[in-house]
């Protein structure tokens, strides 16, 4: 089959690799109809996540048709149309039973690696380095899906791929970012980053009862999409974010702040240069500008929800501000399996149509070109969906 493989910094290649097989009896094999590139794939693409190996298949947002199931699988049958969550979870361990699926204790066979780096290991993830298990990813024609009796959710045929694909990651991720804020009626929520996850956080915050959402980015088309979602926007390349937020909130600050950016933040020149130098010298692994700013802006006693991906160490972390002002920090990889049924229901009800975020639909064969375009935010690119065996090469939706 064809698959998009990682070969080093900004080097991915679509290659012929063996088809996946059933290896554990709770596996299923899925023939992929649509797969997406995630903002967090860019951390791999930019070489910032350790333990990648040449030839690793990328991709953790995918859906398709079940073509084979292991002996233990009774909930799925050949031909079912499913969306696959990005965390791999066994359903039997302490954390799975507590619905903290991205903390599954049994799905990461490389847990020892994670333990060395993080103290404890989280769940396995498709196509996301050997630290998260070394599972082949979903930017391919087929994928092996372990614990198919826990993860994949069946989706009805009257919904298009673009409407349900993002149940795999960015919709639940954006939603959990908002949910962690424990939004009360009347709340103002500030959101750093208007990439695809940020867009879903904006809409989720409103679905969860926020009165006002203020979204922060510098890319015009992203800010425009945020405004279409009902948010007020701050362009950080033109305005001082802290001053603008204090102005909008009468100096109190937003009730909760969501970091939808993570480890590769862009920032005003001097701060960004400082973090880039430290990152290059391996003195810190992540550039945490958005997180620092979210903490400083949040109102006293408020919540800072960190859903953007961090991979290692940061410095100049304003712990004094967190402690002195009774802030709550909540964070984690999304427990996708927990949210899927509820969010699918919202889509079926017509409360939200996640396809709004798609700007490009491309052939899987053009994955390397798509990564380049997504990284450089060319051609108004916000979200790319890749289709194996698609007729033609390119479709732009604006």
């Amino acid at each position: 089959m064809k698959a998009n493989c990682w070969y080093g910094k900004t080097d991915t290649r679509v290659e012929d690799v063996p088809d996946p097989q059933i290896l554990n009896q709770r596996d299923a094999i899925v023939k992929i109809s649509s797969t997406a590139i995630c903002g967090s794939d860019l951390h791999l693409y930019n070489g910032l996540i350790p333990t990648m190996q040449r030839g690793d298949i990328l991709g953790h947002e995918f859906m398709g048709e079940v073509v084979e199931v292991g002996r233990e699988i009774t909930n799925l049958k050949i031909g079912d149309r499913v969306v696959v969550p990005f965390p791999i979870a066994c359903g039997n361990c302490f954390f799975c039973q507590d619905e903290m699926f991205s903390l599954c204790e049994n799905s990461n066979p490389n847990a020892w690696m994670s333990e060395k780096m993080f103290g404890h290991a989280a769940s396995g993830i498709f196509g996301y380095s050997h630290l998260t298990g070394g599972y082949a990813g979903g930017q391919a024609e087929y994928a092996r899906v372990p614990f198919a009796d826990v993860g994949p959710i069946k989706v009805p045929h009257h919904l298009t791929d673009e409407q349900v694909l993002f149940l795999s990651d960015i919709f639940p991720t954006g939603f959990m970012g908002a949910e962690m804020c424990d939004i009360m009626p009347g709340d103002t929520i500030a959101i750093w980053g208007c990439g695809p996850v940020g867009q879903f956080s904006i809409r989720s915050a409103f679905l969860l009862g926020a009165e006002r959402v203020i979204a922060i980015d510098e890319v015009p088309e992203r800010l425009q999409m945020a405004e279409l979602g009902g948010a007020q926007t701050i362009d950080f390349s033109r305005q001082n974010v802290y001053e603008a937020l204090m102005d909008l909130t009468g100096g109190r600050g937003p009730d909760s702040c969501i970091d939808d950016v993570g480890m590769e933040a862009h920032a005003p020149a001097i701060v960004e240069a400082y973090d880039r130098v430290k990152q290059a010298m391996m003195l810190e692994t992540d550039r945490p500008h958005a997180l620092r700013e979210a903490i400083m802006c949040c109102r006293n006693g408020g919540t800072v929800s960190v859903i953007g991906v961090y991979g290692g160490f940061i410095d100049k972390f304003p712990m004094g501000s967190v402690m002195q002002r009774s802030l709550t920090i909540r964070t984690g990889q999304a427990h996708v399996q927990r949210y899927m049924p509820r969010l699918l229901q919202l889509i079926e009800n017509g409360d939200i149509d996640p396809s709004f975020v798609v700007t490009h639909i491309m052939n899987l064969e053009d994955a390397p070109k798509a990564y380049e375009m997504f990284k450089k935010k060319q051609d108004g690119c916000i979200k790319v969906v890749l289709k194996p065996g698609m007729n033609g090469h390119h479709e732009t939706i604006h």
Partner: protein, 342 residues
């Protein structure tokens, strides 16, 4: 106040409370500290004044870059010694560094610019330090074999976990180095394990203590290939959140302490191995089989991992032969492949 006393020993000759070595260990630690200061001093000199070092040792001035590099290595070894409570690894690292220095000096001897008199003096000095390093490392390592301990928390009752473990024939399903365990009855069992270079070692063991749902301890009989003993305890976790399994193993490997240290250098760390074994035990009990990913199909070591892409038919056959595929997996993968690719 009455504290609930934990039993300290189960009648075996080893426990976690085993007394520490007295005088020799203290002396070895003091020697290690001295070697640490030596490392820091030499390291700093090599880093800051590589030309002076080149002159003293008689090697060419062209190699100051290399000397700086070795300086950094010395400094790291020195810091390692001070950073560790018991600097066994760091002192062994010094031994490895000495070997590297001697090799480098050997190569330099053949250079036409070599000042052989000075080099001979430098080599004699390195040899003297090497001897000290070796003595120190061996004293720190001690001669009591390998002791590994690990624990894990399993989402089942102590009785369930005990029953699985007490059927010793289950052990090879999650203990990677075991090939087979045969229950001979009467508390006796025969064990076969993989040993280095594709060989197998065998021994017979007897159960010393066996309290259902609580503890099992065993010990190899006299005249075994590998002298070893083990204990596993099953404790109810607070709040009845499953069972805390605690394992202690002790064995004398081939080549004694030196063999153990060399094995450590190559990544065969017994504590890590036991951790991995217990993780597999947890998988077998909680999800029914050992969980594999594309990368870990053949091995769990990082350097031996394959890329995260599906194995081809040959690799799958190899995985089945080496029993690294879960035991229950009997998939007809060949027909499956043919079905989809045609």
């Amino acid at each position: 106040m009455t504290a609930k006393a934990q039993p300290l020993s189960y009648g075996t000759t080893f426990t976690e409370q085993r007394p520490k070595h007295g005088l020799p260990a203290t002396r070895a630690k003091r020697l290690a500290k001295g070697l640490g200061w030596f490392s820091v001093g030499l390291g700093l000199t090599e880093l800051l004044a590589p030309k002076a070092i080149a002159k003293i040792t008689g090697v060419s001035n062209a190699h100051t870059g290399l000397i700086r590099l070795y300086g950094a290595r010395e400094l790291a070894a020195g810091i390692g010694i001070f950073a560790q409570q018991k600097p066994t690894e760091s002192v062994w690292a010094r031994v490895a560094g000495d070997a590297l220095d001697l090799t480098t000096l050997g190569i330099a001897f053949s250079s036409p610019n070599a000042k052989r008199g000075r080099m001979a003096f430098a080599t004699a000095n390195v040899l003297a330090v090497t001897a000290l390093d070796l003595i120190c490392a061996k004293q720190l390592t001690g001669d009591r074999g390998i002791h590994a301990k690990a624990s894990c928390l399993i989402n089942q009752t102590p009785d369930e976990v005990y029953r699985f473990w007490r059927n010793f024939e289950n052990l090879p399903r999650f203990m990677k180095h075991l090939e087979a365990v045969e229950d001979l009855g009467g508390g006796r069992s025969r064990w076969a394990a993989k040993a280095p270079a594709g060989t197998t070692v065998e021994w017979e063991a007897e159960i010393i203590a066996d309290v259902p749902g609580e503890v099992i301890t065993w010990r190899s009989l006299e005249n075994s290939d590998v002298d070893n003993a083990g204990a596993v305890r099953f404790e109810t976790a607070p709040g009845h959140r499953g069972t805390i399994v605690k394992v202690n193993l002790e064995y004398n490997p081939f080549g004694g302490a030196v063999g153990a240290a060399i094995a450590k250098l190559f990544g065969e760390e017994p504590g890590q191995q036991l951790d991995d074994d217990l993780r597999r035990l947890k998988q077998v009990l909680e999800v029914g089989e050992v969980v594999v990913s594309d990368a870990t199909l053949m091995s769990t070591g990082y350097f031996a991992q394959r890329a995260a892409q599906p194995p081809d038919v040959e690799e799958l056959e190899l995985a089945e032969e080496s029993e690294s595929l879960p035991s229950q997996t009997g998939t007809n993968y060949r027909t499956a492949t043919e079905g989809r690719t045609t």
